[in-house]
Structure formats: structure tokens, C-alpha cells
Symmetry: C2
Subunit: 238 residues, 2 copies
DNA sequence: CGAGCGATTGAAAAGACTCAACCACCGTGG
DNA sequence: CCACGGTGGTTGAGTCTTTTCAATCGCTCG
């Protein structure tokens, strides 16, 4: 059923204007602390857009004009290496607010963001976001917390990259993705997976096959189903 | 002359109480925007301590009680992997303020900090720091900027770990250390170097030998002198 | 003087990468 | 309706970097 969902109209997405008042994901977002009045202001000034798969939100080297609030869909955050190879740093999902880190310095984006699937994403102008930040101590608190959380996550990421084998890293990343994709199955190209794990796509394919043979995962063409989280965690070596 | 400095009294350090008013490194620190009154307050409440080599400032898993302002010395920031191996994330130097990231969440430290050499370090209590943060928008600005800068640095670090060879990574790290140690020579154990580069100490030794043979560096027992920054940058592949 | 730690070297083994070829699926256009 | 081209996925084989393990060395400290 999962497997064929893609072929049905069930999961088709299209442009829809989402009001912040009724937005289901807002309560988990940076803006969870907003009062009715603030939500209304947010709603007035945002711009809600539909993105197809593989459309960029922003590109490293350019300057921030505002933040992106993901209402629905997934976005990869990555940077490009010398050789042109992407390194994915993070996958953002519904409820995540993306691109606000670059707003606190006058430096250009150090990362790029591109949709991984069809997505509905709202844009909030830099000045609006900053003015909310000034007037709402709760938002500031949340932002500081988020920044510090991400710093911690990246330290762990660095450690994983530095100390774990590719096999362990793949297991780790699959578990992270399991959290991102929640009730859906993981749906990433082999190349994106490789660019997240930091390895070659061939290696990813071979290791996925191993995991499949060991009954840790099931592969449905492009989608990956986690069968045994406990064993996978053991494989991840942490 | 450099080489023998260690044996003379010239570089010996000892405890000294540094007044924030006259502190030479404050102007480059988080507290650069402070007015006379604020500097005075800072001075009143800080505690200045002398640390020998290899003393911890804080340990991952414990809770933050305040921030550490390095007046003199170097501090490694690291996390411990499953196998017990350290992964160094950052080396902090004079003027750096360390440990304030953990203060914005209620989570324990995710990183540890330990001195790499004899150091003079001031401690500012959490409540004092936070109260300055509330009353001084300039400090908040600086903190946000710093957080976003570090997030960017860690993304680059991840990319380097994921995409570069050990040799390239060593070159990269040597250049970073060159910036940290400025006019001094790099002075780290092979093991610390390995834990920064993310490799085995034997590999570090072999690669340092190669770099030495290629006239990129000179090795004075434990200290490393950079001879050719341009070539090293080329080796670093960026 | 002996213990012990950090640095060094050598040799063998393993993990991962590269390259090249091939396959499978999908949408297009004739 | 089918051949075509393109993209993404898969496989195999050979190569190379890096790791691991074991042994040695040199220096410092008690």
C-alpha cells in the first residue's frame, strides 16, 4: 500500500495558501510561542509558495533576504565541495524554519537549500523576522536554543564522520532519516544518501544490499523501509 | 630562538589577576562592545584562575554554570567517541569566550574543554552573563553572530571530513592551527593532532614527515613550523 | 637506573574508491 | 505503439589510501 501510494493521487501536492492561524505545523516551529496578534502579523506578511522537486530556496554565496518556513515537504541543506560534490548537512521537514542562521551575520549563505520533493513553503522577509525577534523574547529564546541545539548536532556529525566507518555512518544516517520521514518511508536518491553519509554511491548501494540481506531494512525500489531499529542502532555503533 | 624559548623563563606563565579594564584581549572578545560601567560590572563578578596544562574547564554531560573567558592560553574543545577517542572540534585561544552555547538550552554540555597549555582563564557566572545579555543588545548581536559563524565553520568542517583525504585534512588543520598559534609555532601532541584531523597518530607522523620532506613544514621535536603557506593551501585542496 | 609515555617505523590487511560496463525504468517523439 | 535516449541504479574488478598491530626508540621523571 505504501509502495503504490506514489502512483495514486493520494500524495499529490499542489499549491495551497496556508494561514498561519490554522497551520498545523506552527505549534512545533520556531513560532510556537506567538500570540494571536503575532500570528496574525506573521500571516499578513508572509508569502506562501509551491515548490516542485529539486527547486532551490537559496544558494550558498548569495545573501539572505528572509527565512523559509516549511509547511509541507522536505528540504536538503548542503554545501558544495571543491570537486563539485554536495555534502548534505541536514534534512529539514514540515515545521522547520530554514535559513535564519545566515541572517545574524552580514556574510552570505554558507549553505544551500533545495527541495527534495514537492513542498509548500512560506517566506518571511528578513525585516519582519528581525522585528518579531526584537519584540518577542520568547522567539529570541527559541532561536538561541535552536542555534545551540544545531551546534551540538553538528559536533556529533563531525565526530561520526571522523571516527565511524562508512557502514556505521550509513546506519546512523538511516536512523536520522527515519526520524525525518516519520510514518513515510525514506525516499532519497542513492546519490543524495551518499552525499549525506559522505561516501560514493556505489558504496551506498553495496551497504544497503548488506543491510537488506541482514533484514535490517527492506528496499522498495527507491524507498527504504526500516525493519529493525534496534539492530540498526547497534550497527551505528552508538 | 623559538626553539629554546620553552627552556627559558621567558614564556613561563603563572597566576595573575587580570582586570577587565586593562585586559588586552577583551577588545577582540564577545565583550568588545561593553561600556566602562559594564566592564566594571564584569570585573567585579568574574573569577580569574590559573590552569595548568591538561586541566578541564568543563566536561560533556555536566551542566553549565557559566562561561570561560580565555585571557591567555589555549583550550581544546572536543567530544569523546564510543571507542574513547577524542574528536577535537575547535581550539580556542586568548580572547575567546568558551562554553556559552550550552547556556541557552537546559541540556548538559555536549562538548568538553581542556587546557592545552598553562592558561589564565576568567569565569563569569551564568546569571551574570545572562543579565548582561538582557541589558546589552550589542552583546546579543555579537552572540548571535558568533553562533552563526560557528555553525558555518562546523558545516565546513563536516564537508572537509567527508570529502577530503587525510592528507588534505592535515594540511587544512595545520593552516587553521597556524592562525590559532599566530606568531608561535604549533604545539600539539601527535595524538591531539590525530584527534583533530580524525585519523590515527601513525598516519599523522607519516604525513608530517612527507610535508617536511616537501619543505612545507619544519619539525622541531614537538613543535611544527609552517614554511610554505601557499603550497600547504594547495595541498589542502581549497 | 628503570618505568613509562609519546614518537616512530615496518609490514600486512582491510576498507573504500575508481572506473567501466551494464541494466532498468521512464518519458519522448516518430 | 514502439524505438530511442537519458537518468539513476547495480555489479565487478583492480587499486590505493589508511588502519592496525607489533616492535623499537628516546626522553623525562621519580
Amino acid at each position: 500500500m505504501f509502495i503504490f501510494a506514489e502512483n495514486s493521487a493520494m500524495l499529490d501536492k499542489s499549491h495551497k495558501y496556508v494561514s498561519c492561524e490554522t497551520c498545523q505545523v506552527r505549534k512545533d516551529s520556531l513560532f510556537s510561542s506567538f500570540c494571536t496578534e503575532e500570528v496574525h502579523q506573521l500571516d499578513e506578511n508572509k508569502v506562501c509558495s509551491f515548490y516542485r522537486k529539486n527547486q532551490p530556496l537559496f544558494v550558498e554565496g548569495t545573501f539572505s533576504r528572509g527565512v523559509y518556513c516549511i509547511n509541507d515537504g522536505k528540504v536538503k541543506i548542503f554545501t558544495i565541495g571543491e570537486s563539485g560534490k554536495e555534502q548534505i548537512i541536514h534534512i529539514a521537514k514540515e515545521g522547520d524554519v530554514v535559513g535564519f542562521k545566515a541572517m545574524f551575520s552580514d556574510d552570505p549563505y554558507k549553505l544551500s537549500a533545495t527541495t527534495l520533493e514537492e513542498s509548500n513553503i512560506c517566506f518571511i522577509k528578513k525585516e519582519d523576522f528581525l522585528s518579531h525577534l526584537e519584540s518577542n523574547p520568547g522567539l529570541l529564546q527559541t532561536v538561541l536554543k535552536e542555534l545551540s541545539k544545531e551546534l551540538g548536532e553538528r559536533a556529533v556529525f563531525i565526530k561520526n564522520m571522523a571516527q565511524k566507518s562508512v557502514r556505521e555512518r550509513l546506519a546512523t544516517i538511516l536512523l536520522i532519516l527515519d526520524g525525518v520521514y516519520k510514518d513515510e518511508m525514506i525516499n532519497l536518491s542513492r546519490e543524495d544518501l551518499a552525499n549525506f553519509v559522505g561516501t560514493a554511491t556505489e558504496t551506498i548501494i553495496r551497504l544497503l544490499k548488506e543491510f537488506k540481506e541482514e533484514q535490517l531494512i527492506e528496499i522498495h525500489v527507491r524507498k527504504i523501509e526500516i525493519l529493525d531499529r534496534k539492530k540498526l542502532l547497534r550497527e551505528a555503533g552508538s
